[in-house]
């Protein structure tokens, strides 16, 4: 029994650590209400294409709330750099929406998308 524990405890510990380090892939998926980032981005793309800037601003607020929720879950498996890049591109998107600049807004949305897909990959 003792020999089994000597092998089992370190093995289970290492498996647990590996799971924590890879948890980002699962935890970035929507688990509850208002934490669906791809959905929020899709909505913003529609709003920007239709030039419905007020709706885009509302969806940006939702996107920020969703990102805050997801960030808490993925922070242990992600690097600060990739989180910072996503944060920055969301901030730039906010500026583009406020300026009602369709081209800039679309560029920023796709950048946010790209950073999102890279997160926890």
């Amino acid at each position: 029994m003792r020999k089994f524990l000597v092998v089992a405890i370190p093995t289970v510990t290492l498996i647990l650590f590996i799971l924590i380090m890879h948890s980002g892939k699962i935890l970035k998926k929507p688990l509850g209400n208002n934490d669906n980032i791809p959905q929020s981005l899709d909505n913003i793309i529609d709003n920007v294409n239709n030039e419905s800037w007020e709706a885009a601003e509302d969806n940006l607020v939702k996107l920020n709330k969703a990102w805050k929720k997801v960030l808490f879950r993925v922070q242990f498996s992600s690097g600060k750099d990739e989180i910072y890049k996503l944060d920055t591109s969301i901030a730039r998107l906010e500026g583009a929406v406020e300026a009602e600049d369709k081209a800039a807004a679309l560029i920023e949305i796709y950048e946010v998308y790209n950073h999102w897909e890279e997160l926890g990959k």
């Binding site: 924590i20 890879h22 808490f72 922070q75 690097g79 600060k80 750099d81």
Partner: protein, 242 residues
């Protein structure tokens, strides 16, 4: 992102991963380490510390670095265990630096050692008169093993043809005031015998003893909590805060 919380979680992961990997690699004492083992240890430790505080990269990347170095070190250990030639190349081998009392200066040059280094190593072995040395071997972990000339070796009972009783190793009978029953049984003694012996040392209860050991020759070592030493000798050369 809560940086402090992330660092704490990463520290826990690195700490226990390092502990598990270090146990996997074995080598419990620094003195067992070769120069290469030492370098591997430093590198693995530095990767672990980076995994903790450098939160700009993902923890998995550092973990993979840690794992790769550990696996390589493990492979190296197996290779050096199974293949003596590789062990000689990787870990080095013992070299004779003093032979028949003569310092092998060409070997010293090869090992990049100065005569003063050899003298220092000899002094560390308690040898201040270099005439006493017959052989000195520099081991692969950097320590020096010395064989003294026969005339400087200590006199033993065998030299004097004196028969001595085997003392064997000491077994703990009381540790921290508690009797260790298994050891008593192992030594074929019982509590009554032990208490009779302790009475001779003025001990009425086992809790008064810090340590009691018995060797195979039947000799007891007794240390009481109350040492009755009024003035403790101070070997410090300097008045410190305590």
């Amino acid at each position: 992102m809560n940086e402090s919380l992330v660092i704490v979680v990463r520290a826990i992961i690195s700490f226990f991963t390092l502990l598990i990997f270090a146990r996997l690699l074995g080598k419990e004492q620094i003195s067992q380490l070769s120069y290469f083992d030492y370098v591997i240890g430093i590198t693995i430790g530095s990767i672990a510390s980076e995994a903790t505080v450098d939160i700009s990269s993902r923890p998995w990347e550092s973990f993979m670095g840690l794992l790769s170095w550990t696996v390589l070190a493990f492979i190296m250990q197996v290779v050096t265990l199974k293949w003596r030639y590789a062990a000689k190349v990787i870990e080095g081998e013992p070299v004779i630096i003093i032979m028949n009392g003569k310092i092998m200066d060409n070997v010293l040059k090869k090992m990049k050692l100065r005569v003063s280094d050899v003298l220092e190593l000899l002094r560390n072995q308690g040898i201040f008169d270099y005439n006493e040395v017959d052989y000195a071997i520099l081991e692969s972990n950097g320590s020096l093993s010395v064989l003294k000339k026969s005339e400087y070796l200590p006199l033993t009972p065998k030299d004097m043809n004196i028969k001595v009783k085997q003392t064997g190793i000491s077994t703990e009978l009381i540790y921290d005031g508690v009797i260790i029953e298994e050891n008593l049984k192992q030594m074929n003694k019982n509590e009554k015998w032990l208490m009779n012996q302790l009475k001779k040392y003025g001990i009425k209860d086992p809790s008064e003893a810090l340590l009691v050991t018995l060797n195979d020759a039947g000799s007891l070592y007794v240390d009481k909590y109350d040492d009755k030493i009024k003035k403790v000798k101070d070997i410090g050369d300097y008045k410190g805060p305590f």
